[in-house]
């Protein structure tokens, strides 16, 4: 028996799992998007592009698309500039204290998103929550944080941002760890300020990971918000915090509109394919230069 044949039994579990639970469902999503199927009844039949047309007729879907992009743009600095600044700060004074700060700052990644969302809801309670109490003490009017479309979106963004900052701070930290500290010391001896070091040593080092993290956050930002939206706002008020990821869930599991939800999922998948192709292009270009 050749080595290649012997490999298959070892690979089979992975390939079966990927086929049944990832790639199969991806293909089946496309199929479902052409069916008229409300989960409560058997599939009625093939309806072609009707589900896509229905999505287009409902302004909620367009709104969720726009807001998916909005989330990505608003979260962009929190996946690049902010964690880079924090990681540089930690890197500039290595030692026990930096380790402890890093461990605390990473907590939002570890903590259960539902528990964090519940804690936020308590702080933001419109009647007696701590945030409004504090504002009152400062003589400012209370806010109906989760009930007001504008502030609800900000709340979801802030909670999500803490997690994104925490994770990317770690990634930037690993990149910075590969900088030769002797170069930095030599520069400092020659009279370079901390800002000079940041600009001419740190920045060139982190340029490439920043591009990757920015792209990644554009792709994943909507996904990161899902649990917060589900626990705190259910996409409301008036769809203000909705995005495509939550829209698919609402269509499929609140309205049981399997066809329309699948069509929305196909739109999302198509978006991912476009970004993946763009990413491949960026990598090819950056390798060539």
């Amino acid at each position: 028996m050749t080595a290649r044949l012997r490999a298959w039994p070892y690979l089979a579990p992975l390939l079966i799992l990927l086929g049944v639970w990832v790639y199969g469902p991806a293909v089946f999503t496309v199929v479902l998007s052409f069916l008229d199927w409300n989960l409560t009844t058997p599939p009625v039949g093939v309806v072609g592009l009707d589900n896509y047309a229905a999505l287009w007729r409902h302004p909620e879907f367009a709104q969720s698309l726009v807001q998916t992009v909005l989330y990505a743009l608003v979260l962009l600095p929190f996946s690049t500039v902010v964690p880079l600044a924090l990681a540089t700060l930690l890197w500039s004074r290595p030692g026990r204290a930096a380790e402890i700060y890093r461990a605390i700052l990473f907590l939002p990644v570890i903590l259960a998103p539902v528990a964090v969302a519940v804690a936020w809801r308590f702080l933001l309670n419109p009647l007696q929550g701590l945030v409004n109490e504090m504002l009152g003490a400062l003589g400012m009017p209370p806010g109906n944080w989760l009930g007001d479309p504008a502030t609800a979106l900000v709340v979801i963004v802030v909670i999500t941002a803490a997690k994104v900052v925490a994770f990317n701070m770690l990634l930037y930290g690993a990149t910075l760890a590969s900088i030769d500290r002797r170069v930095v010391e030599a520069a400092r001896v020659e009279g370079a300020t901390a800002l000079d070091v940041a600009r001419s040593i740190v920045l060139p080092h982190v340029a490439r990971p920043t591009v990757v993290l920015a792209l990644l956050s554009l792709v994943l930002a909507g996904q990161w918000t899902f649990t917060n939206i589900s626990v705190l706002t259910q996409g409301g008020p008036d769809g203000a915090t909705d995005n495509v990821f939550y829209r698919i869930y609402t269509l499929g599991f609140t309205f049981f509109e399997i066809g329309e939800a699948s069509a929305a999922a196909v739109v999302l998948l198509a978006g991912f394919i476009v970004v993946a192709l763009a990413w491949g292009l960026v990598r090819r270009v950056s390798r060539a230069t």
Binding site: L11, A97, P108, G129, L130
Partner: protein, 277 residues
């Protein structure tokens, strides 16, 4: 103090100040929830950060009125099952891709990477239909098996570590007539132990915190996980904030304990997963 030391001292103080503020900003809500869980009904809403008096009545209320221990048990079974299952699948696949058929490696690693990037929401409807058709609604199997499809990340992480096992050790075992299974068990697996621990911790924590799939597949209270139980508790018993905060604390406790005991190992595991993407 000599004058030229003053900027250094100022810099150090500013450095600590900025980081302390950042730590407070990101962890304050959770910290406040923890504090509130020890407050009595009279001062739940007070801005005083010190509970007066410190009380455990919220914990008593949660433990007696809410199935917190079964929820934790369900979540533990799911997280341990998913972690163990993914490790077995990924070790087998990583071994095959490095030792048995390196030619398949690029293609299968691409397939694994693509699987990781597909957003869960985009494929969750067929997953749900299939799992319910199999009769897996409200069952541990339904919670565990579909989440094994995410083993792709574990594969990507472990392939590098299998590749780092010295060739000479593998060759030596082969010369002594060891079959592939024996090479895996006696040579590769012992060398992989730290990597397996890291992947295990990573998968365990992310599965413990998983929300979407448990929400759909195990909605019944007896089978739910802590995240779903907590979300339901919030909508049903929303006014008893002391108990709610105690519940949030209890359900986060196992993960936080793991993190306190092995924070370096946990961050390293997350780091590796992030560097892959």
């Amino acid at each position: 103090m000599r004058p030229d030391h003053r900027p250094a001292l100022f810099g150090r103080v500013a450095w600590h100040a900025v980081l302390v503020v950042c730590c407070l900003l990101t962890t304050f809500p959770v910290l406040w929830a923890l504090i509130t869980s020890f407050k009595g009904p009279a001062d739940v809403f007070s801005a005083n950060p010190i509970p007066s008096p410190v009380t455990l009545e919220n914990y008593a209320a949660v433990l007696s009125g809410w199935p917190v221990l079964p929820l934790i048990a369900n979540t533990f079974v799911m997280s341990a099952g998913v972690a163990l299952g993914q490790i077995v699948v990924a070790v087998l696949a990583a071994f095959a891709l490095v030792e048995l058929s390196p030619r398949l490696r690029p293609a299968i690693l691409v397939a694994a990477t693509v699987a990781l990037v597909i957003p869960p929401q985009a494929i969750v409807i067929p997953q749900f239909l299939l799992a319910t058709r199999l009769g897996w609604l409200n069952s541990p199997v339904g919670l565990i098996v579909p989440q094994l499809g995410a083993a792709a990340l574990a594969v990507l992480l472990l392939v590098q570590h299998v590749a780092e096992v010295p060739r000479s050790h593998v060759e030596a075992a082969r010369l002594e007539g060891a079959r592939s299974g024996e090479v895996l068990w006696h040579v590769v697996l012992p060398a992989l132990r730290p990597a397996i621990a890291a992947v295990g911790i990573l998968v365990f924590i992310t599965t413990w915190n998983e929300y979407l799939w448990p929400l759909l597949i195990a909605p019944r209270a007896e089978n739910a996980t802590v995240q779903i139980g907590l979300a339901q508790f919030q909508t049903e018993g929303g006014t008893d904030y002391g108990a709610l905060m105690a519940a949030a604390t209890l359900t986060s406790l196992p993960i936080v304990l793991v993190y306190l005991l092995a924070s370096r190992r946990v961050t390293d595991a997350f780091l590796q997963s992030g560097l892959r993407t």
